[in-house]
Symmetry: C2
Subunit: 429 residues, 2 copies
């Protein structure tokens, strides 16, 4: 008997009717002789409504009480799903994170899961029940309720699936998989049949918000296959797994993991160096100009920003013409721009920099793909494609599996379209 782990997001359990749909799907999987564990998020906008209530009683909420408050959302949807399952003749039991044995660090609001003690989950399965578990939460060593950060239900699902040694963790959401880029920007964007953890992580942190990055990280640690799919369709979505398993899966003649893929198409896909294109329109750029170049200036600048809890993304340091001065440019999340600019000005003064400039009118376009490591021509192809359309590149940053360019905000969508075509990522007609 296989253990199947499903996770349903807030939209998928947003109304009683949708909860009943989920129940029917889950029952179908169980009726095929599987043991099923389901992780649920809070219904629709419940979490936001709770936070709204919170803002009406306090301006500065205590993290412990925050967790106590918002964790109720998942408890409601878990109990309702268990009831909906029972209502259609499928034995079920709901468990809070704590009851399910999800033990976290003693850090409120953003703990990591330390352990999943399986006694109660296994007990429930042994009794023939579907076990429904609240996502996004566990308990710490004191028995306090701890949430693991927003979007953390994905991570809960992966951790529980890994502890149960499930073959795959099905994450149901309102999109039907990972695309080569945002289909709203490029209508011919293609759904990927598989993608590696690293690529998914890059795409997620570059703005493709289909999966919480921590869940991908957690999956890569435990080598857990994530199947990201739509709760509205029966179709397969995108499998997220290690490059080795992708290889195996492609080489094997069987349809492993239930992946009834077109093998030839998949093999072709494998050859593509670029797997996806992401656009991040939520960034801003700051430049500290003509800093007297001496050891420690980067540490000083980024130390000060970190002390103000400002996340810095791309960093480009260039030697200025004279050779004794450097320009330091970096990007931050756009909402942080004002604060970051103030910090930068203060540090610039201490460092005797000549000027500080900022620009909120920028976007970041990125190519992602593991294969890029072995195909060194990718970067120049990217730059050429952008240049041919007169898109000026302001900053460049590269990693082994990613190339990002900062360009004018108004050219962002066009750049994605150009690159999607240039790298042949369209749907096969």
């Amino acid at each position: 008997m296989a253990i199947i782990v499903h996770k349903y997001g807030g939209t998928s359990v947003g109304t009683p009717e949708k909860i009943k749909q989920v129940a029917r799907r889950v029952k179908g999987v169980r009726d095929k002789g599987n043991e099923v564990v389901v992780i649920v998020s809070a219904m629709g906008h419940t979490t936001d409504e709770l936070i709204d209530l919170m803002h009406q009683v306090t301006s500065d909420s205590d993290p412990r009480e925050y967790d106590m408050l918002v964790s109720t959302g998942e408890q409601v949807s878990a109990a309702l799903l268990a009831m909906a399952l029972q209502d259609i003749g499928c034995p079920a039991v709901s468990l809070t994170g704590g009851q399910a044995g999800v033990v976290t660090e003693d850090i409120y609001k953003k703990a990591r899961i330390k352990d999943v003690k399986l006694d109660r989950i296994k007990g429930g399965l042994k009794e023939g029940k579907v076990v429904v578990i609240t996502g996004f939460q566990g308990v710490d060593s004191k028995g306090d309720i701890i949430t693991i950060g927003r979007g953390g239900s994905d991570t809960s699902a992966v951790a529980i699936a890994a502890a149960l040694k499930a073959e795959v963790c099905d994450i149901y959401t309102d999109v039907d998989g990972v695309y080569t880029t945002d289909p709203r920007i490029v209508p011919t964007a293609r759904k990927l049949k598989y993608i590696s953890y690293e690529e998914m992580l890059e795409l997620a942190s570059l703005g493709a918000q289909v999966l919480h990055p921590r869940s991908v990280e957690c999956a890569s640690i435990y080598n857990m296959v994530i199947h990201l799919r739509s709760s509205l369709k029966e179709d397969e979505g995108t499998y997220i797994m290690s490059p080795e398993r992708i290889e195996e899966s492609l080489d094997s003649s069987s349809t492993e993991l239930g992946v009834a893929r077109d093998k030839e198409a998949a093999k072709m896909e494998k050859k593509e160096a670029v797997r996806g294109i992401a656009l991040d329109e939520n960034i801003a750029k700051i430049g500290i100009l003509k800093v007297p170049d001496k050891p420690g200036i980067a540490a000083k600048i980024f130390g000060a920003l970190a002390a103000h809890k400002i996340n810095v993304d791309m960093i480009v340091q260039s030697i200025h013409s004279a050779g004794t001065q450097a320009d330091m440019a970096f990007t931050v999340d756009r909402p942080d721009l004002k604060k970051a600019f103030e910090v930068a000005k203060k540090v610039a003064k201490e460092l005797d920099a000549v000027d500080v400039v900022s620009d909120a009118d920028v976007s970041k376009v990125s190519l992602v793909g593991i294969g890029m490591v072995s195909q060194p021509g990718t970067a120049s192809r990217m730059f050429e494609a952008l240049a041919a359309e007169k898109i000026n590149i302001q900053m460049i940053s590269t990693s082994e599996i990613k190339i990002s360019c900062v360009i004018k905000a108004e050219q962002g969508k066009k750049a994605v379209q150009i690159l999607h075509k240039a790298f042949g990522l369209e749907k096969v007609a």
Copy 2:
């Protein structure tokens, strides 16, 4: 340092603004140097809304999942109150019933509290915090969430106050105390300064819905003084305690328990045999006529009703004229009438009774007072007062501290007014 226990009902924490009001009151009590524990109900109609969601996914809910679902209501209000306290500079921590050490029987939906393990509550108080606890719930031996029946937050408060050996348990609600009768029926109804557990229990089970009867029972077991009062005023409400403590309190020259009572008025009050008048308009009457009189007929009738989970209240058996037949009359809750009538007809047939009649058009008016035991004239005064106004009595039932009469429904309110006057329960002008 005194330990003060407050309980706030759903109306008192119905909105964020009201939660902030409660926070200010609680802070005021703590600022006077007290250790404060607060038990809260769910906000306003939260529980009903959750039950409504439940009905949308299932017609027959599992008690375990029901408890899992509805217990979230108190968790939300407890967390919000803790946040509101912190927001005005009052350290606070919220605890679920389970975290607070409230251990119940392993019975979903209506367990009794078995124990309160005080470690975490005392720990919170030791850290100088107000401890806010979810009412209405605890955990069983498996760690499952268990609710203790609707209105159970009062019982939670009393049990926790008793475990903490608090002097008094302040129950804040939307009425300001216990009245001699419903002020909507008798505008001159007087607020009682004190009432015994037994009297309160009778009044509560007779329809005066200010306090959950189980909380009174629990208080009487632990001899815990309940102070029932309004969350909108600073005034004192009604103290519910043992007759012995009422005596002591009256005899003592000090203002014990903070009872700044007018001693003479209270002494006068003490002499009244009748303490309150209750009207129950939710009853119906069934009569099984001319049952051949032999041992075991009552057991058969009421056994059958109990098997169908029908609560029977008053029972009157009268020997019929012939001497070999008996009439058996009893009252049930009005919504149970149809079912009860069917059961009665079936049993009547088995017992060879001549007829079964029912009447939904009745009400029950009751006098309550411990002093009635020693004043045997009370019953006849009651009957005379009703007769003088041409109110016919259909059934009579007496106990040591109560006399109940079943009368025509349309005469119920008038009967209360007549009796309130006849026994001199009006406000002193």
